[in-house]
C-alpha cells in the first residue's frame, strides 16, 4: 500500500482544528463525548460540526473545493411520480442541499442521465436559491447511449451539443465549474471513446468552451478499460489536451483488490498515483461502493467498531479517501439526511488514517473480498430494463442475504429453514414478483452499461436458479 501519499499537511491542519471539533467524528447515539449535549431523556447527541469542513485547492483555478462532494445520482424520489411526471422529491432535495451548503459542502456533481434524467433540473432548482459563487457545479456529457446507434459523427456532434446546452438550461446557470466526459473506458474501450468525443469533434468544441469560460474545468470520469485511461493521460503529457481534474472510482476495497472483483477492473492505487504524479486532482466516486462498504457482514462491522466504537462503518471509507492529498472531493450520493450528517461528521475535518489504520483497513479489505457479494453499487446505469426487471433491487437483496448469512448451501445447513424463509420472503418484499430474476430474457442490453462490468444476465440466471432450488427444496 502506498503510504507515502498520506496528507501530512492536512494532518497537521486537522491537529490544529482538532480541539474545537472533537465532537465532530462522533456518531449519533454513541457513548458520551466531552462536549456532547446531555439529554435528560437518556440520549446523547452530538452536533453536526459547522465551519470545520476540509477544503482542497484546485491547482488550476484555485477553487477551494469541499472534501465532501454531493453526488446527485441518488436524490430521494417520490413513491409515485407527480402530475408533471417528476419523480424526485424536490422538497427533500432543497432541504438536503440547504443543509449541505450550511455545513460547508460546495461541490455538486450531477449528469443529464441521472435519476431518470431529472437530476440536473432538481439540483438546479435547489441551488438557484443560493448565490452562484457559493458552490461549484459539476455535470457531464453523457453521450454514451448515442453511440452504437448508427449515427453519423455530425449527428452525434449535434445531439451531444444539444445535451451540453440543455445542462445549462436545466441547471439555470451560464457557466459550469467542472465538466466531464461521462464514464469513458466503458463498452469496447478505445473505439467507443473515439466515437463519442474524438471523431466527431465534440472534445475540441468543449476545449473551446473552456477557453470561452463557460467551462471552468474540463475532465473526465473513468470506469473500465485501462488503455483508455493511459491514452488520455498520454494526451495530457504530450500537451495535446490538458485535464483539470479526473474522476475515478476509489475506496479501500478497490485500492488493491479491484481485480479480484473483476479482472478487467483497475486498481485505484494505480489510477490515483498516475494522476497525482501529474498533479491532476482526483474526484472520487463510489467511495462507499453504493453502500456496500457500510452494509458489511456483521463481524466486519464488529472488527471496525472494535477499533473505533464511536465512528460509523462508513466513516472509515470516507477517511480512507480523504487521507490522500490529491483527492479534491469525495462524492457521496446522500439520499438521507442521516447519511449527509454522518459524512459531515467523518470529513469536517478530515482526520487522516494512520499507517496502522491503513494496514488494518487493508486487512479488512482482504477479508471482505472473500465474501461472494455481487459488486453492484445500485448506480442504476443498467436501468430501466426493457423487460421490467429491477436489476439493482435483485442484486442488493442477494448481497444483503450474503452479508446476513442467509444463503444456505444445502438443506443440511443448521439454519436452512430460517435462511430459506428470509431469502424468499425478503425477495418478494424487496422486488415485486414480476420484476424478479425469473423474468430475465438475457437480452443483455444491461451489461454494457454497467460500470462495474457485472455480467448481469448471468447473475440473474444464477440467482433465479438458486431461488428455484430453495422453492423446490432441491438445494
Amino acid at each position: 500500500m502506498a503510504k507515502n501519499n498520506i496528507n501530512r499537511r492536512g494532518f497537521l491542519k486537522v491537529m490544529g482544528a482538532g480541539a474545537t471539533v472533537a465532537a465532530g467524528a462522533a456518531l449519533e447515539g454513541c457513548a458520551p463525548k466531552k462536549n456532547a449535549e446531555f439529554d435528560p431523556a437518556g440520549h446523547h447527541t452530538t452536533e453536526v460540526p459547522k465551519g470545520t469542513m476540509t477544503y482542497r485547492t484546485n491547482p488550476t483555478t484555485g477553487d477551494k473545493v469541499s472534501i465532501l462532494g454531493y453526488g446527485c445520482m441518488r436524490w430521494p424520489t417520490l413513491s409515485q411520480p407527480d402530475a408533471n411526471g417528476n419523480v424526485i422529491d424536490q422538497e427533500r432535495v432543497n432541504e438536503l442541499i440547504d443543509y449541505a451548503l450550511e455545513h460547508g459542502v460546495n461541490y455538486f456533481d450531477t449528469a443529464p442521465v441521472y435519476v431518470q434524467g431529472q437530476s440536473e433540473r432538481a439540483t438546479g432548482i435547489a441551488l438557484k436559491r443560493h448565490p452562484r459563487n457559493e458552490y461549484f457545479i459539476a455535470t457531464k456529457l453523457s453521450n454514451q447511449r448515442m453511440a452504437g446507434r448508427g449515427l453519423s459523427p455530425q449527428e452525434m456532434y449535434k445531439q451531444s451539443l444539444e445535451m451540453y446546452h440543455n445542462s445549462f438550461k436545466e441547471l439555470q446557470t451560464d457557466y459550469i465549474d467542472y465538466y466531464l466526459l461521462h464514464s469513458i473506458g466503458g463498452g469496447d474501450g478505445m473505439p467507443l471513446l473515439m466515437e463519442r468525443f474524438f471523431d466527431n469533434g465534440v472534445l475540441d468544441f468543449l476545449v473551446k468552451e473552456r477557453e470561452a469560460g463557460r467551462i471552468r474545468n474540463l475532465g473526465w470520469s473513468f470506469h473500465g478499460d485501462v488503455a483508455v485511461f493511459d491514452y488520455m493521460l498520454q494526451l495530457h503529457d504530450e500537451g495535446k489536451y490538458k485535464w483539470d481534474f479526473v474522476q475515478i472510482q476509489m475506496n479501500y476495497l478497490d485500492w488493491t483488490h479491484a481485480k479480484e472483483t473483476n479482472p478487467r477492473n483497475v486498481n485505484a492505487e494505480y489510477l490515483y498515483n498516475e494522476l497525482a504524479k501529474r498533479n491532476i486532482p482526483s474526484v472520487i466516486m463510489e467511495p462507499l461502493l453504493g453502500g456496500r462498504l457500510s452494509n458489511v457482514p456483521n463481524h466486519i462491522v464488529a472488527r471496525l467498531k472494535q477499533q473505533e466504537p464511536e465512528n460509523s462503518v462508513a466513516s472509515w471509507a470516507f477517511r480512507f479517501c480523504g487521507t490522500f492529498p490529491m483527492v479534491m472531493s469525495i462524492l457521496s450520493g446522500m439520499t438521507y439526511m442521516e447519511h449527509l450528517q454522518d459524512n459531515i461528521r467523518s470529513l469536517a475535518p478530515v482526520k487522516p488514517l494512520s499507517e496502522e489504520d491503513l494496514t488494518y483497513l487493508e486487512d479488512t479489505a482482504s477479508l471482505m473480498v472473500t465474501y461472494p457479494t455481487i459488486p453492484c453499487n445500485s448506480c442504476q446505469y443498467c436501468m430501466p430494463c426493457p423487460y421490467g426487471l429491477d436489476i439493482p433491487g435483485i442484486l442488493v437483496h442477494y448481497n444483503k442475504c450474503v452479508n446476513e448469512g442467509n444463503i444456505p448451501e444445502s438443506q443440511q445447513d443448521p439454519n436452512y429453514k430460517k435462511a430459506r424463509q428470509a431469502f424468499l420472503v425478503g425477495y418478494d418484499r424487496a422486488v415485486p414478483k414480476l420484476r424478479q430474476a425469473s423474468h430475465c430474457t438475457s437480452c443483455n442490453q444491461c451489461s454494457p452499461e454497467c460500470p462495474q462490468r457485472i455480467n448481469i444476465p448471468l447473475q440473474m440466471q444464477r440467482i433465479d436458479a438458486y431461488v428455484e432450488a430453495l422453492k423446490q427444496g432441491t438445494l
Partner: protein, 522 residues
C-alpha cells in the same frame, strides 16, 4: 346437554373448515382436509361408499346431526339466525319462529332435478344448490380476501420489525361471476336464516332432503310427553326448523336437525331426546292445518333465487367477456427507450390466450372426470398458492376449477389441490407423479416471440422448462448465428405453464399451453 354437545362439535367443524378456505400456507389442509371429505355431496361424487354409509348410519341413529354439526352451511345459518334472533324486539326474541307445514313437493322436486343434473353432468346446477359448495364459495370469495388483507397488515408490521414469519400475499378477483354468485348466495341465505332459521335446509337443500328422509326413521329423536305438555308453544316458537307442532304434539323428523334448542326451552320437561323404535306413524305424522304466512314468504324468496341465477349468469358472462375484450384492446407499449438511468419499465398485465381445450390440474385425470365429480366448492382454488386455479366461467363447468398462467404457473413442488379435493375431481398425486403427468402441451406463436419481434436474445421459456421439453434453435436454419427461437418437444411437455407465465411477451405470451381432454403419463 344435546345442545351443548352440538354447539361444541359444530364450532370445531365450522372453524376448521372455514380455516381451510382461508389458509394459503397449506398448514391447515394437512390436518383438516378429512373434514371436507366428510361432506355428503363430495363423498357421493367421489363414490366414497364408506363415508356415505357412515353418514347415513349416523342419521339413522341420531337424526340430522350432519346438518347441525358437519355441514358448514348449516352452522353458518345457525350463526346468522342467532344474531337475527338477538336483533328482534324483546317480545319476539323469546319466540322468534313458528311451526310450518313441510314443503314436500318443492323439496322432492328440487332433489329430483338435482339428481338428474348430476346424472346429466350439469355441474353448474349441482354447484349452485349444494350446501357445502355454496359455503365454500362464500368463504373463498368473501372471507378469504378479508383474511388475506388482515394477513397483509400483519405482514407490513413484520416487515418493519425485520421478521420473515408473516409474508404478503396477493388478493385478486379470480372470477367475477363466481364472486357475484357468492354474494347473491350470501344475501339470500342471510335473509332466510335471519328471518326463519333453517328455511334453506328444509326446502332447497338436496342433502337436507336426502338425510331428512333417513332421519324420519332415526332411533334417537325428540319425543313429546303429551302428559307433561301444557301447550305453551315455546318449543314450536323456538324451533328454527319450524318442525314442531305443539298442538298435535308431533315433530317432523325429516326437518329436525337435532339442535336441542327445544329441549332446553321446554320448562315442563315434556320434550326429550331419547331412543325409540321408529315406525311409520312417527315417520309420517298426520298433516294438520297451520298458518301459512311464513312459508309463503320463504317460498317467494326461493322463487326469487331460482329466477335470479340463470339470468344473472348470462349477464355476468357478458360483462366478463366485455372486460376481457376491453383489456385486449390495450396497445402494447414499446420497451422503454434507454436514454436515462433508473426507473422501472411499465409491465403490462398478462391476458389469457384463447385455449381450444381448457386446462385442469394434474390429478384431475380428464375434463370429463373433473366435470362429473367437482362440486365447485372452491377449496382447490382457495388453496392454490400459485394463482393458477380459478373458477371456470363456462356454463357447463361453471365455477369448477380451471388452470391459467397469467399470475403464476403450476409449480413442480406443489400438489396442494390434489391433497384438498374432497370430491375425487382431483385425485391425490405426489410430486414425483406430477412431474410426469401431461395436462397439456405448449404451443409457440412466432409473431409474438421476443427474438422475432424485438430482435433480442431470450430463451426464458427453455431455461424454466422443468422437463427440458424446450430447445432453442437458430431462427434461420441456414444461419447458426441467427437469433434463437424455442421448439417444443410435445412428448416431454407436461403443460405446467412455466414457459407461458415467464414469457416476456405481454399481454399475450408467445408460448402458451393448450389443455388435454385426457391427461397422460409420460
Amino acid at each position: 346437554m344435546v345442545r351443548k354437545i352440538r354447539l361444541t362439535l359444530a364450532t370445531i367443524f365450522f372453524v376448521c373448515i372455514t380455516l381451510m378456505f382461508l389458509d394459503f400456507t397449506g398448514v391447515t389442509h394437512a390436518y383438516f382436509s378429512w373434514m371436507a371429505k366428510l361432506q355428503f355431496l363430495p363423498a357421493v361424487l367421489a363414490l366414497n361408499v364408506g363415508i356415505i354409509i357412515l353418514l347415513i348410519a349416523l342419521t339413522l341413529l341420531f337424526g340430522r346431526i350432519y346438518c347441525s354439526v358437519i355441514c358448514p352451511m348449516g352452522v353458518f345459518q345457525d350463526i346468522i339466525a342467532w344474531f337475527g334472533k338477538k336483533a328482534r324486539p324483546k317480545k319476539e326474541r323469546k319466540m322468534p319462529y313458528t311451526y310450518s307445514k313441510a314443503m314436500s313437493a318443492l323439496r322432492y322436486t328440487v332433489l329430483g332435478v338435482f339428481v338428474m343434473a348430476i346424472i346429466a353432468g350439469v355441474g353448474s346446477f349441482v354447484a349452485l344448490l349444494a350446501p357445502y359448495s355454496s359455503y365454500g364459495r362464500i368463504a373463498s370469495n368473501l372471507f378469504q380476501p378479508l383474511y388475506r388483507w388482515g394477513n397483509n397488515i400483519l405482514a407490513s408490521f413484520a416487515e418493519k420489525y425485520d421478521s420473515y414469519a408473516i409474508y404478503d400475499v396477493d388478493v385478486w378477483v379470480k372470477s367475477m361471476p363466481t364472486l357475484i354468485i357468492a354474494v347473491v348466495t350470501l344475501v339470500i341465505i342471510f335473509i332466510l336464516a335471519w328471518r326463519n332459521g333453517r328455511t334453506y335446509c328444509n326446502t332447497i337443500c338436496p342433502v337436507g332432503t336426502v338425510l331428512g328422509f333417513f332421519a324420519r326413521f332415526s332411533f334417537f329423536r325428540v319425543t313429546f310427553d303429551a302428559e307433561k305438555c301444557k301447550n305453551c308453544s315455546m318449543c314450536s316458537r323456538n324451533c328454527k326448523a319450524s318442525c314442531i307442532d305443539y298442538k298435535t304434539h308431533t315433530v317432523d323428523y325429516s326437518r329436525c336437525v337435532t339442535c336441542g334448542n327445544c329441549l332446553e326451552k321446554c320448562k315442563f320437561g315434556a320434550l326429550s331426546y331419547k331412543f325409540g323404535t321408529p315406525s311409520m306413524a312417527t315417520a309420517f305424522p298426520k298433516p294438520v292445518v297451520v298458518e301459512k304466512a311464513a312459508p309463503k314468504a320463504a317460498a317467494k324468496a326461493e322463487e326469487k333465487k331460482e329466477v335470479a341465477d340463470p339470468g344473472l349468469r348470462t349477464f355476468l358472462t357478458t360483462i366478463a367477456v366485455g372486460a376481457a375484450a376491453a383489456a385486449k384492446a390495450q396497445i402494447i407499449p414499446e420497451a422503454t427507450d434507454k436514454k436515462v438511468d433508473g426507473g422501472l419499465a411499465e409491465i403490462e398485465d398478462k391476458v389469457a390466450p384463447q385455449r381450444a381445450t381448457k386446462i385442469v390440474p394434474p390429478g384431475a385425470i380428464s375434463l370429463r372426470n373433473m366435470k362429473n365429480h367437482c362440486t365447485a366448492c372452491q377449496l382447490c382454488v382457495s388453496a392454490c398458492p400459485n394463482g393458477v386455479l380459478r373458477p371456470s366461467t363456462d356454463l357447463l363447468t361453471f365455477m369448477q376449477p380451471e388452470a391459467s398462467y397469467e399470475v403464476g404457473y403450476c409449480r413442480p413442488e406443489c400438489v396442494r389441490c390434489s391433497e384438498v379435493c374432497p370430491a375425487g375431481a382431483i385425485k391425490l398425486i405426489d410430486v414425483a407423479e406430477k412431474s410426469s403427468i401431461q395436462i397439456g402441451h405448449a404451443v409457440w406463436t412466432r409473431d409474438l416471440c421476443v427474438p422475432i419481434k424485438d430482435g433480442q436474445e431470450c430463451g426464458n421459456c427453455a431455461r424454466h422448462c422443468p422437463t427440458g421439453a424446450i430447445t432453442m434453435v437458430p431462427s434461420d436454419a441456414n444461419d447458426p448465428q441467427s437469433k434463437k427461437i424455442p421448439v417444443v418437444n410435445e412428448e416431454l411437455c407436461i403443460g405446467c405453464g412455466a414457459c407461458e407465465n415467464l414469457c416476456p411477451s405481454r399481454p399475450i405470451s408467445a408460448i402458451y399451453v393448450e389443455g388435454h381432454e385426457v391427461h397422460r403419463t409420460i
